[in-house]
């Protein structure tokens, strides 16, 4: 690879790359995201390559790409250019599929079948999961090999950088401001404004940071972007650095994401080799150096001042703001810190313009947002939709709703700092303001769907357990408040709740929210406050000794229906406590004093005679 010394050379390279590729050439793309890899995409790649060799075919390209999004049905294989979509392909299906490709046919049996009509769907874009989406940031994910900078350049990569380097830094900031891009990592602070503040801050040494410490459980869009299209983030960061006047940057990635780190390392090395990173980028005189910092595992490091402390080699404890990082950030220098998805949006805005970006989403929250749809939903996966779409469209039309005909109960948005929204709010449009008003928050975009089998009190306890454990321990409201709240919630789920617990819980929650130092503490009470607001009856039921979702063990009482029991004795044999008595052929009974409520008997009963109450 020769270093590119001028913008023209980049365009020449792009032309060459495009010419060398026949647009009609068949390309088999296999999803290489963490989810699909776990389901066997690497074995599948080997099988496909072997089969193509067997046919001695040279004009079929095979690629391991980034995440395609429909993780539930992995490993995903898409045949380009037509976009023929095969979910859940196994190695034994490979010969059949390759034969079909070579004969210009499809294998109906292995296609995606629309669950509502039962009919096979051939093309990816016609699948209900993809139809309603607007994939911009994720657009290239399923098309390029993330370990090849040439793939990225061929589809127009680093074009925005070339354009930006010919603009004035102020012009770039103005463009981002006009686009109305807001931080995709949580609070939704206007990105252009942040850049402007940093540019105006005095000093010559400045930094840009990419926050890839995606700690929210149930959110993995940043991982997928870093794994599947690392250059889009790098390009965004170079543009941002040029705009604010920074010449050094860090990408902070969780150590739990080894594949993302690997792909980033490759991408940075390739960009350096081509002269897109380093000294005098494309002959513009602008220099920028980018480093990777591997996070060592602490949820609180998603908070910007804690993340900075971590890069500086200290405990990841937040500090009071102001001063904000744009004035005094990394090593005391002005620093812009944006999350992965925000950076990945930057090249799109520069390339297509602010008006184009504003044409999607809502006036207050323009553009698209990636959500990870997880939990009790049919189509687990990553979806990118325009802002302003309703929860119902997202969860039911794209996600397919809860599986096994279960009733939708709530959706937990924004990770442990977010809130649980009930079925009544399904028609709420998704944007920063309406989510905050409803008591949740955008957060990083994690959406965990829960159905009737989930106990909301227990879910609130789960989140509190998380935030309590992840509290850095610096400020007392968060350190002590979350602990006391967790105690009360645990007590309630164990059937030891006391009258007055709910008002005490509310009082504590409001106190922790008001008085905590950083975002972790200030938002930790959200799951408790929203469940108290929307599911108060469940709390009250627990205080009366019932768990309506039949989840909290201490509150369950198993019983055998004498009408249904045939006296087969299977339950008595299964019971680890020997708590079931009865004669052969006659209805059995459970001795509650001995029962540990494990539910083994109910699972063993062939007649469905045992149920929890």
């Amino acid at each position: 690879m020769a270093s590119l010394r001028h913008l023209r050379e980049l365009e020449v390279l792009r032309e060459e790359l495009r010419k060398s590729k026949d647009s009609g050439q068949i390309c088999i793309t296999i999803c290489g995201g963490t989810g699909c890899r776990a389901l066997g995409s690497e074995e599948l790649l080997a099988a496909i390559k072997a089969e193509l060799n067997h046919h001695r075919t040279k004009n079929v390209e095979v690629k391991l790409t980034g995440c395609h999004g429909l993780c539930e049905r992995g490993p995903i294989v898409v045949i380009q250019p037509e976009g023929i979509f095969y979910p859940g392909l196994r190695s034994e299906n490979v010969p059949e599929v390759i034969q079909a490709i070579l004969a210009d046919r499809v294998v109906d049996r292995l296609l995606y079948h629309d669950p509502s009509t039962g009919k096979p769907v051939i093309r990816q874009e016609d699948i209900p999961f993809y139809r309603k989406q607007k994939r911009l940031v994720l657009a290239a994910n399923g098309r390029i090999d993330p370990t090849s900078i040439y793939d990225y350049i061929a589809i127009g990569g680093y074009q925005a950088l070339g354009k930006a380097l010919q603009m004035d830094p102020e012009e770039i900031i103005e463009e981002i401001k006009r686009a109305g891009l807001r931080g995709r990592g949580g609070a939704g602070f206007p990105t252009g404004k942040k850049w402007e503040l940093c540019r105006r801050a005095p000093g010559t040494k400045k930094y840009v940071i990419c926050n890839g410490d995606e700690g929210d459980p149930g959110a993995y869009m940043d991982r997928s972007v870093l794994e599947g299209n690392p250059h889009s983030v790098i390009e965004g960061m170079i543009i941002g650095a040029y705009a604010v006047g920074a010449n050094e940057g860090y990408i902070y990635v969780r150590a739990e994401y080894p594949l993302a780190i690997k792909h980033l390392r490759i991408a940075i090395a390739q960009a350096e080799e081509l002269g897109l990173l380093g000294e005098d980028i494309l002959g513009s005189g602008f220099s920028f150096h980018l480093h990777i910092f591997e996070g060592a595992g602490a949820f609180v490091c998603g908070e910007e001042t804690a993340l900075i402390a971590s890069i500086e080699g200290r405990r990841g404890q937040p500090r009071p703001r102001p001063p904000y990082p744009v004035e005094s950030g990394l090593f005391g220098k002005p620093t812009v810190i944006n999350n992965v998805e925000t950076w990945a949006n930057v090249p799109l805005i520069i390339a297509h313009g602010a008006e184009w970006f504003r044409s999607m989403g809502t006036p207050g929250s323009p553009g698209t947002k990636i959500f990870s749809l997880t939990g009790k939903v049919k189509n687990t996966g990553l979806v990118e939709v325009p802002m302003g779409i309703t929860l119902r469209e997202l969860i039911f039309e794209i996600g397919g709703g809860p599986p096994e005909g279960k009733r939708f109960k709530a959706v937990q948005i924004g990770g442990p700092s977010g809130g649980c929204l009930p079925a009544e709010l399904l028609d709420l449009p998704i944007d920063y303001e309406s989510l905050t008003q409803a008591g949740a928050m955008m957060g990083s975009g994690g959406m965990v769907v829960v159905d009737e089998d989930t106990c909301m009190v227990e879910l609130a306890r789960f989140f509190l357990e998380f935030t309590q454990a992840e509290s850095c321990g610096q400020c007392p409201p968060c350190r002590l408040g979350t602990k006391r709240m967790l105690e009360i919630l645990t007590r309630i789920t164990q059937g030891r709740g006391k009258p007055g617990d709910l008002s005490l819980l509310e009082e504590l929650a409001l106190g922790v929210r008001e008085a905590s130092l950083c975002g972790l503490g200030r938002t930790a009470p959200n799951p408790v406050l929203t469940t108290l607001r929307y599911f108060r009856t469940e709390y009250e039921a627990h205080l009366e000794g019932r768990c309506p979702a039949k989840f909290c063990r201490a509150l369950l009482a198993y019983q055998i229906d004498p009408e249904l029991c045939v006296g087969c004795g299977l339950c008595a044999q299964t019971c680890p406590q020997g708590a079931i008595f009865g004669e052969k052929g006659k209805p059995h009974r459970i001795e509650m004093r001995l029962c540990v409520r494990c539910g083994a008997c109910a699972a063993a009963c062939p007649k469905g005679a045992i149920s929890a109450r």
């Binding site: 459980p217 149930g218 993995y220 060592a296 949820f299 080699g313 997880t374």
Partner: protein, 154 residues
């Protein structure tokens, strides 16, 4: 006693070699800890002492930082080491029951972690070889333990 001294000597040499690759500035503390743990598998007290000396910071600061982050461990890990994801998506699909079953097997060393980002496979368990086991149930845990046993004995 002799063996102990020798082990210490060997450790010191290995740590010295590792540390030589890093600039001796306090800000490199976390990458240095990561590099040492990657080589040794854990952070023995000797390593922390050497790191403090090399980077010119107090042992208490090294220890304070190392204990703050969940990545760092201070004793060697067992052979049958598994991670179980306790993220929200895994939780609502029954990770607690999977954990309960895992904990019953004394030969398995279990480390609960917060979200591995493989939510489509929930509930998920990752074995020491980096393999993801998705859709776990208490029953599947028993099969997994059997395979781990076989792998060790065979």
């Amino acid at each position: 006693m002799f063996a102990f001294v020798e082990r210490r000597e060997v450790l010191y040499t290995r740590i010295e070699e590792l540390l030589a690759k890093w600039p001796q500035e306090p800000r490199f503390l976390i990458p240095v800890l990561q590099a040492v743990q990657e080589q040794l598998g854990y952070l023995p007290p000797e390593a922390l002492e050497k790191i403090a000396e090399k980077l010119g910071i107090s042992l208490s600061r090294v220890y304070g930082v190392a204990t703050f982050y969940t990545q760092f461990v201070f004793k060697p890990r067992g052979q049958n080491f598994v991670r179980i994801c306790l993220g929200t998506a895994c939780h609502v699909r029954g990770a607690a029951q999977v954990l309960e079953e895992l904990l019953r097997w004394k030969e398995v060393e279990v480390e609960p972690v917060r979200c591995l980002g493989a939510c489509a496979l929930a509930p998920v368990v990752v074995t020491a070889d980096g393999k993801y086991h998705g859709g776990m149930t208490p029953l599947k845990v028993r099969t997994l333990v059997q395979t781990l046993r076989k792998g060790r004995d065979g």
